[in-house]
């Protein structure tokens, strides 16, 4: 007897649907909304750009912007901050979850208290948020990572992935797509030899890149779908004897990567505009808080300069396709 | 003789305790000066003021006519004052040679330490003291006696003008004391001033010219030794006439309580067998390092044993289990009270009641009041001097600390009382009390086993004397057979030369 996983299957999904009610697409955007951003971790350049976009949007809609967050990218610290935000009676919490489940009870408490919860960057379990701003579809990113790797490797050879933490949700789902892509006959000559984890720490990523190159002398491409990882790997390779022999690609910030693109270490990498994610999150939250949308599939709202968006299945709002950066176009971007 | 060091009206208090009050006396170049007094009289406090450890609250020191302000031990060293503290102060991880030379290491090229010179310097000092300690070995693991000898070598190496010795002989036996005295005399005759503290009057009369007596932190008198008698000194120290020092009552021994058979622990002692009967005081004599302490520690169970049995009242004790021994009624007052006897940072109360925390508890719980009452009772019985029961034991004078250890163990009402150097560092008054206590315990039927390096104590107190030499029990002497010569002969294996 006893309570086991299978005996409780399906029982836990019952989440409070506090957002019940009818959407009124014509409701005006409220002013003075208290919108709080809770990124995975403060003091991370990528995060800073994201929430920077958020601040622009909150100012546009005359809301009150707030930024809180831990220094350590852990779910438990995020929970403390969510609790604080509940006490402070925010209107919208825009959160990038460090763990899809750990933040759930708190987020649901927030929703019970009437706070709209928008996740961005890294989703929480869909039972505990109102909408998710998806930077790109998981499928789209996974495909584009494999495409770039294949181009750089010339269609065949060993590739490796340098990811963030072993349990980063977004990273893992991209890697899953990559694996499916690689299994396709078109990519049969590409071999994924290793997934290393740099924990989104610069030094660890640096050392891991080093380890990859030592272990796999025939490595052709390192794919790092994290800004910290790609920068660290590029820096290592640019100053080592591997420069020119091993290609680096992945997701990176143009400002951080400019040097390595220019010195030839990196031929191309991709990214969406992170500022737009924060920007979109603010508008989505405000629209929801104003009653324009409820998070149901098919609802539409306007997000300032980004134009109109439609809510997809499971409350997902997709930002758009990622941009590829190369030596030709990189100077047009500044973030 | 000129006054080399003048102590003028110094006082020192620790919180409410006035340890030294307005004490003045002079040390002359070329004299050995004894400082005596009861435990807690303030002798060590004077020493620490001379060493620069404590700054006098008032009063002053003068060296060769110029005022001497000591900011710390380094100043005292620089002024040519060398101190042997009551408790050895070695660096266990460093080699013996380095311990001796610390701060004065001979230097070679680029001011680096010349190790060879340092080692040979230490070796020379040991030769002068007539002992063989490997200068290269670390100080860790040296016996107390060896530690004391290293301390002495350290003081000698300083070529000091003033040498202060706070009970340097407490851990030494006759031969070593003689060696020390020979060296001390040569220092003295070389023009140094010696301040010598001891509770043993025979040593004082053998070495010193003058004696200063302290009582309760006050200066009582300073006289030529030739002008005073031991009785007179004792009277001034304690402020009254003293009872007999060795009040051993005659007791008809009862049944055998403690039976040791074939006790062995390699390589320290071998095949030790003896018995102690109820009402008996049995002394275990021998030279320092002969293994006596190890034997009693093994009996009590704090040390393991390789072979042999220990029986208390017919029941055999498990090896290595002091709790067993305690439950069977054995108590051990260990030789090193700072390391083994007391928890220096805990209160007097906790120390006195520690071995009985189980029996003092009610339903397994301790509220503190029973412990307090018991601690008060036993410290009073032993006439312990202290401020409050909650004071740290470490702040008591050496003698009072020893009383706390005794209280701690006597309170367990033992059937077998083992005492290892019970009166080491204890003044005559307290010593008599301790002896009376042992004697009356024996009269009550307690079996007492006493390890002692003090021959008068052994001869005065024991019904039987067991002598150990190099880890073996060599002789058993009855009270009538036990003479100084007989014991020394057995302990050294040769005719006594002292």
């Amino acid at each position: 007897g006893g309570t086991t996983k299978s005996s409780t299957e399906g029982q836990n999904t019952a989440a409070p649907q506090s957002t019940a009610g009818q959407a009124n697409p014509n409701a005006p955007l409220k002013e003075g909304l208290k919108i709080a951003y809770l990124p995975k971790q403060l003091n991370n350049p990528y995060t800073d750009v994201e929430v920077g976009g958020g601040k622009v949007a909150v100012d546009e809609i005359k809301g009150a912007y707030k930024l809180v967050g831990p220094n350590d990218a852990s779910a438990s610290s995020q929970v403390s901050y969510i609790n604080t935000l509940i006490q402070q009676q925010q209107d919208v919490i825009a959160v990038a979850a460090n763990d899809p489940n750990a933040v759930c009870p708190s987020l649901n408490q927030a929703r019970k208290a009437g706070i709209k919860v928008i996740t961005f960057d890294s989703d929480a379990s869909k039972t505990c948020r109102d909408a998710f701003i998806n930077q790109a579809t998981t499928q789209g990113i996974g495909e584009s990572l494999v495409k770039m790797a294949s181009e750089l490797a010339g269609g065949e050879g060993e590739i490796a992935v340098l990811s963030a933490t072993p349990n980063a949700t977004n990273q893992n789902s991209w890697i899953e797509v990559m694996k499916t892509e690689l299994a396709k006959p078109a990519n049969s000559k590409l071999k994924l030899v290793k997934i290393a984890y740099g924990n989104d720490e610069d030094q660890k990523s640096f050392t891991e890149a080093q380890g990859l190159l030592q272990s796999y002398p025939n490595l052709k491409v390192i794919v790092s779908p994290t800004t910290v990882g790609i920068a660290a790997a590029s820096r290592y390779v640019s100053a080592s004897s591997y420069k020119g022999k091993v290609a680096i690609t992945g997701l990176g910030l143009p400002n951080q990567m400019r040097q390595y693109v220019k010195d030839g270490t990196v031929k191309k990498f991709a990214l969406w505009n992170p500022a737009d994610i924060g920007y979109l999150a603010a508008y989505a939250g405000a629209a929801m808080s104003s009653g324009q949308i409820t998070g149901a599939q098919g609802e539409k709202f306007t997000a300032g300069k980004l134009g109109e968006y439609t809510i997809g299945a499971d409350g997902e709002i997709v930002l758009g396709p990622p941009t590829e950066f190369t030596a030709e176009n990189i100077d047009k971007f500044n973030f | 003789m000129t006054a080399l060091l003048r102590i003028r009206g110094v006082s020192k208090s620790f919180g409410a305790v006035a340890a030294v009050r307005d004490v003045s006396f002079d040390l002359y170049a070329g004299e050995a000066h004894a400082l005596v007094g009861e435990n807690g009289a303030g002798k060590s406090t004077i020493v620490k003021m001379l060493a620069g450890v404590h700054r006098p609250d008032s009063g002053a020191l003068e060296l060769s006519g110029t005022p001497l302000a000591l900011g710390g031990p380094a100043d005292a060293k620089a002024a040519g004052i060398a101190v042997i503290y009551q408790e050895p102060t070695l660096f266990p991880d460093l080699s013996v040679a380095e311990n001796i030379a610390m701060g004065r290491q001979p230097l070679g090229r680029f001011n680096t330490i010349d190790r060879a010179a340092m080692v040979s310097q230490a070796a020379r000092l040991f030769t002068r003291l007539g002992v063989s300690i490997d200068p290269n070995r670390p100080a860790r693991g040296l016996s107390i006696a060896d530690q004391q000898l290293v301390e002495i070598a350290k003081a000698l190496s300083a070529d000091a003008r003033v040498v202060v010795m706070d009970e340097p002989t407490a851990a030494l036996t006759g031969v070593e004391v003689e060696r020390l005295f020979a060296v001390a005399r040569s220092l003295r005759d070389g023009g140094a001033a010696l301040l010598f503290i001891s509770h043993r009057f025979e040593e004082i009369t053998a070495l010193c010219q003058r004696v200063t007596i302290m009582r309760d932190g006050r200066h009582m008198s300073t006289d030529l030794l030739a002008d005073t008698s031991v009785d007179e000194m004792v009277r001034r120290m304690v402020g009254r006439d003293l009872d007999a020092l060795f009040p051993k009552q005659d007791v008809v021994p009862g049944a055998t309580v403690l039976k040791i058979d074939g006790l062995t622990r390699d390589p320290v002692f071998h095949d030790i067998s003896f018995e102690v009967r109820a009402g008996e005081i049995v002394a275990l004599a021998g030279l320092v390092g002969s293994g006596r302490s190890e034997v009693v520690q093994s009996i009590f169970g704090v040390d393991p044993r390789d072979a042999g049995t220990v029986e208390v009242a017919g029941k055999s004790l498990k090896p290595g289990k002091p709790k067993h021994a305690m439950a069977a009624g054995v108590a051990l007052v260990p030789e090193d009270r700072r390391q083994q006897g007391l928890l220096m940072e805990l209160s007097i109360e906790r120390n006195v009641t520690l071995p009985r925390s189980r029996s003092l508890s009610q339903l397994g719980f301790l509220t503190g009041s029973r412990e307090r009452r018991s601690a008060q009772e036993w410290t009073e019985r032993l006439k312990t001097k202290y401020g409050r029961l909650s004071d740290e034991v470490g702040t008591l004078s050496g003698g009072n600390q020893q009383k706390v250890v005794l209280a701690k163990w006597l309170a367990t009402k033992p059937k077998v009382l083992i005492v290892d150097e019970p009166t080491r560092g204890i003044d005559v008054g307290t010593k008599a009390e301790v002896h009376r206590l042992m004697s009356s315990l024996a009269a009550e039927g307690v079996a007492v086993l006493m390890v002692s390096s003090e021959l008068p104590e052994v001869l005065g107190m024991a019904d039987r004397v067991l002598v150990m030499r190099e880890g073996r029990l060599v002789t058993e002497l009855s009270r009538s057979e036990a003479t100084e010569e007989a014991v020394m002969f057995a302990a050294t294996g040769q005719e006594a030369t002292v």
């Binding site: 003091n43 610069d202 040097q259 | 031990p73 460093l94």
Partner: protein
């Protein structure tokens, strides 16, 4: 009285123990390298050795400083935070004044660290607060100050002068050379100068040191200044090596450093051990990290193996010590 024979000046048993300790680490190192190389010869390639040594340099500098403090029976848990502060200070400085020579940057870093060391030392000495408490406190405080100052900003490689980055990555391994210099100087001072021996004495018995007239206060502060200064220096090396500096640089490093020192045979209760051992400990830990990556050992096992090896190292060290102590017991003195 018969003359006692002068013992022939021979290696003290103390030295033998220490030698044995360091020998053990060297053996472990050789074994590790051998096994790894057999399975992947590239492990012994020039680039690989270079990488390991460069990575070790930073940890070794920290470990040398930590050893000095641990020898005095203290501990400095703030080194990770000091490294972060120093790295960020130097990074900012170079960002604003790219023309500054590397030597000056090193001095600034060491200076920042030394200042933190003074703070630690003064609190330990004059505040009479145990070092573990003080440095656990300054671990938080210094990290907090760095975060305050840095906020979210990150200094990237492209904002640092190339001469500085070159210092970290050039063909001549400056970092390693610097670390070796630091190691040798510290080792000589500790072994052959009075000041060094006084540090051992303090760690061996604080009370005895006081009574022996050793300026305990000054030496304690001195030890913390050395540790802080070296942590500051390590911060500069860190900046040069990794090129990216944010407020989190060096977070959690303290436990690695203490582990290196402990594995290197420096007793946590002070009084014994050498900086050679500490540096070897750093080398061993770094090599383990690299070797496990090369040996294709599951990433998840790495930390567990490091933990196991630490236990193994201190356990083996203990066995040697026990054997030596048993030897000493048999050599009591006798009146000659």
């Amino acid at each position: 009285m018969t003359a006692v024979e002068l013992p022939a000046p021979k290696r003290s048993s103390l030295d033998v123990v220490l030698r044995a300790r360091e020998l053990g680490i060297v053996l472990a190192l050789v074994l590790l390298v051998a096994v790894t190389t057999i399975s992947n010869p590239r492990f012994l390639s020039g680039q690989s050795i270079r990488d390991i040594l460069l990575n070790t340099a930073i940890l070794a500098v920290l470990a040398v400083g930590q050893a000095v403090v641990v020898i005095t029976r203290n501990i400095d848990l703030s080194v990770g935070s000091v490294l972060g502060l120093s790295a960020f200070t130097v990074g900012t400085l170079l960002q604003n004044y790219p023309g500054i020579p590397v030597v000056f940057a090193l001095l600034v870093g060491a200076g920042v660290g030394a200042a933190c060391g003074v703070l630690n030392g003064v609190l330990v000495r004059y505040g009479n607060v145990p070092a573990l408490v003080v440095t656990l406190g300054t671990l938080y405080v210094i990290r907090g100050v760095t975060y305050f100052w840095a906020g979210g900003s990150q200094i990237n490689a492209d904002e640092l002068p190339p001469s500085f980055l070159n210092f970290g990555t050039a063909d001549i391994p400056w970092l390693v050379i610097l670390a070796v210099v630091v190691l040798v100087v510290t080792a000589v001072v500790l072994r052959s100068y009075r000041t060094g021996r006084e540090l051992y004495a303090m760690g061996s018995s604080p009370q005895a040191a006081q009574l022996a007239g050793i300026p305990v206060g000054r030496r304690t502060i001195g030890a913390f200044v050395v540790s802080g200064g070296l942590a500051g220096l390590a911060g500069v090396l860190f900046a040069a090596r990794f090129g990216t500096i944010d407020a989190a640089a060096g977070t959690g490093m303290e436990l690695n450093v203490v582990a290196a020192v402990v594995v290197g045979g420096v007793a946590v209760f002070g009084g014994s051990g050498t900086v050679w051992g500490a540096a070897l400990g750093a080398l061993l830990l770094t090599t383990i990290g690299s070797a496990l990556a090369v040996l294709e050992i599951n990433q998840f096992w790495q930390q567990a193996i490091v933990g196991g090896l630490i236990l193994l190292a201190i356990g083996a060290d203990r066995l040697v010590a026990v054997r030596v102590a048993a030897g000493l017991k048999k050599r009591g003195s006798h009146v000659g």
